[in-house]
């Protein structure tokens, strides 16, 4: 396996902020990638490098192309121009099985067939490691066991996936991607449909994986404050182009939120983690008597 550690010659981001990838290297990069559905361009000439061993979060408004970019980087979509580079080679030119041994992906709404048990589903994550005639081995058993333990789903092993709660199901899907034992893990909105406690649960799990195994995590998230909390590197998209990328403290600012989401906000330090915390200004505030009046407060 070749590992490309050379730093980026050109990271053509709109903002030339200090890019952590320059120091750590990037096995996965998008180089001038354009992705379109039919004739509609969704991702427009994007170049971005995913820093190895870090958690990268892609943020942006609805329909800005963040899921499309992730799908492109996971070779689910073929770029109409540019290329996605994995370990120095174009990802679309590599055999899909070979990619599957290095890069795992959890799609946004994965479908589990009826009646499939947790071990069965997680075990399917081992497929890329099987040869043409080689079947299930003791190594696979261990890999599945590790994935179940890491996601705290071992006690669900013989349950049917359909019958699990949303949070449990999401952990099982992550376990399936983990059983693939790849150094890179891409997740498309892994917290959708989860309540806030389960969102934090899933993100904590991914942070643990990143810390203990050094897994490079790339995910699309909707919730900016959670993105700021868990990301080492944030990529902000607007209308299919990267408008900012870098550490959360640099990318998540009042100006950038206004630009990317078209929303006025205040950014204050998160009282727990001291990461940037976005507080929307909005137009409505409940009429509560507070010791200090805020400017413009109380108007409807």
């Amino acid at each position: 396996m070749t590992v490309v550690t050379s730093h980026e010659p050109t990271v053509a981001d709109a903002t030339d902020s200090a890019d952590p990838s320059a120091a750590t290297g990037s096995r996965l990069r998008a180089e001038d990638v354009t992705l379109s559905y039919r004739d509609r361009v969704v991702v427009d000439h994007v170049s971005t490098a995913i820093p190895d061993g870090k958690i990268t979060v892609v943020v942006g408004a609805n329909a800005c192309g963040k899921s499309t970019l992730l799908r492109g980087m996971a070779r689910l979509l073929t770029p109409s121009s540019g290329q996605v580079v994995l370990d120095g080679a174009s990802i679309h030119a590599m055999p899909t099985r070979e990619v599957a041994r290095r890069l795992g992906l959890l799609p946004q709404n994965p479908v589990c067939p009826e009646g499939v048990t947790v071990v069965d589903l997680v075990g399917r994550g081992r497929t890329p490691h099987h040869g043409r005639f080689q079947r299930w081995s003791a190594d696979d058993e261990l890999a599945v066991a590790r994935a179940l333990e890491a996601t705290h789903t071992l006690d669900l092993a013989d349950r049917v996936v359909d019958e699990l709660s949303g949070g449990q199901r999401q952990r099982v899907w992550i376990a399936m991607a983990l059983a693939q034992e790849t150094d890179l893990l891409l997740l498309d909105e892994p917290t959708t449909y989860l309540d806030v406690a389960h969102q934090v649960d899933v993100l904590d799990l991914l942070a643990e994986l990143n810390a203990t195994r050094g897994t490079t995590v790339v995910m699309v998230l909707h919730e900016l404050n959670l993105a700021a909390r868990y990301a080492d590197h944030v990529v902000a998209l607007l209308d299919g182009t990267v408008v900012a990328s870098g550490p959360p403290a640099e990318v998540i600012t009042e100006e950038s939120v206004l630009r990317v989401f078209g929303m006025r906000c205040r950014v204050v330090p998160d009282p727990v983690a001291h990461t940037p915390m976005v507080v929307p200004v909005g137009r409505h505030r409940p009429q509560v008597h507070t010791p200090r009046s805020t400017p413009g407060g109380g108007t409807r």
Binding site: L105, E114, G115, A157
Partner: protein, 340 residues
């Protein structure tokens, strides 16, 4: 071996055991219906006599009935049923929709229309008819794919139902043009029947299946990924070409089965879900093939002896079972679970 790995092994063993049990049970059921179809009926043959007939003994009446009527019919029923069951389950699983079986979406009827065209208009017979049936099935698939796009949901089913109705009209039109409109022949090509069973036909079908079945077995591993949806399947390194190849094999299975016995109504449509229900909801192609074999053979026996003095074609019986099942699927919303 860690404790966790033992938990994994135990949980996997549980599902494997269930599948083996289901397959063994269905195999026994298939053998049972086969024997019932051969031995029971208007003329009952004992097992001992059956063995002697196979060994070459001439038993007045019995030998003729077994070798020229019931044995070929039962054998054809098993082969055709297995082909439909397998083809249906592959369609339903790859398209992730229980409605997307070859009978419902017009693939069987396409094969039938092409076969009738070959027989009536071109005057062909034998393997050439099978060839036409396969081409017809493939053509219907191509048209549905073109019109319905990549969506495996309701659109595909609606386009398919439309083409099935159109193609059944084509079959009827061809019969009127050829002036050989007799009810029995028409029934073969419109609902399916085992009446054409003879040893030449069985030999041809058996030889084709002997080639197709190992290929299906070889490709079937990709089904475990395909049924997770295109995104997850690709993420796990399954190439879409594998899936297309498997669907292509399913079309061939359906095509040759239709060429032999006509589009046996709902055989594949019923076999897949029945096998799945027995196997705790999980897909097993072997179980689906056995279910199809038992279903078609059993339905043919019922059709032959249910109504006195009337020999109902097998397709009428499977159709009578399939229609309520279709309604049940629609009523309970157990159709397309694909969200795309």
């Amino acid at each position: 071996m860690s404790a966790a790995a033992l938990v994994v092994r135990g949980a996997r063993r549980h599902t494997t055991r269930r599948r083996r049990l289901v397959v063994a049970g269905l195999a026994a059921l298939t053998v049972g219906t086969f024997l019932v179809r051969v031995l029971l009926g208007d003329f009952t043959v004992t097992v001992a006599d059956f063995v002697r007939i196979l060994a070459g003994a001439q038993i007045p009446g019995a030998t003729f009935i077994v070798l020229d009527s019931t044995l070929p019919r039962a054998t054809l029923g098993v082969l055709v049923g297995a082909a439909f069951g397998l083809g249906g389950a592959i369609f339903q699983t790859t398209l992730r929709n229980p409605l997307a079986s070859p009978e419902v979406i017009g693939v069987s009827m396409g094969a039938s229309a092409a076969a009738v065209f070959a027989i009536v208009t071109l005057g062909l017979s034998g393997p050439a008819v099978s060839g036409f049936a396969v081409v017809g099935a493939l053509a219907v698939c191509a048209v549905i794919r073109l019109v319905a796009g990549d969506h495996a949901g309701y659109r595909l089913v609606l386009v398919g139902v439309g083409s099935a109705a159109f193609l059944s009209a084509v079959v009827q039109y061809l019969f009127t043009r050829a002036d050989i409109y007799d009810a029995q022949t028409a029934l073969v090509w419109l609902t399916g029947s085992l009446a054409p069973a003879d040893w030449t036909l069985i030999g041809q079908l058996g030889a084709t299946l002997a080639v197709l079945l190992p290929l299906v077995a070889w490709c079937s591993r990709s089904l475990r990924l395909t049924e997770l949806g295109p995104d997850t399947a690709t993420a796990l390194g399954s190439s879409p070409r594998r899936t297309d190849l498997l669907l292509g094999l399913a079309v061939l299975l359906v095509g040759v089965a239709v060429a032999a016995a006509g589009p046996v109504s709902f055989a594949g449509f019923l076999a897949g879900p029945i096998a799945r229900a027995l196997n705790a909801g999980r897909t097993s192609l072997l179980a689906a093939a056995l279910t199809g074999a038992a279903l078609v053979t059993g339905a043919d026996h019922v059709g032959a002896y249910l109504v006195a003095d009337t020999n109902l074609p097998v397709g009428v019986v499977t159709g009578a079972l399939g229609a309520p099942f279709l309604l049940w699927l629609l009523a309970t919303g157990r159709t397309s679970r694909s969200t795309s």
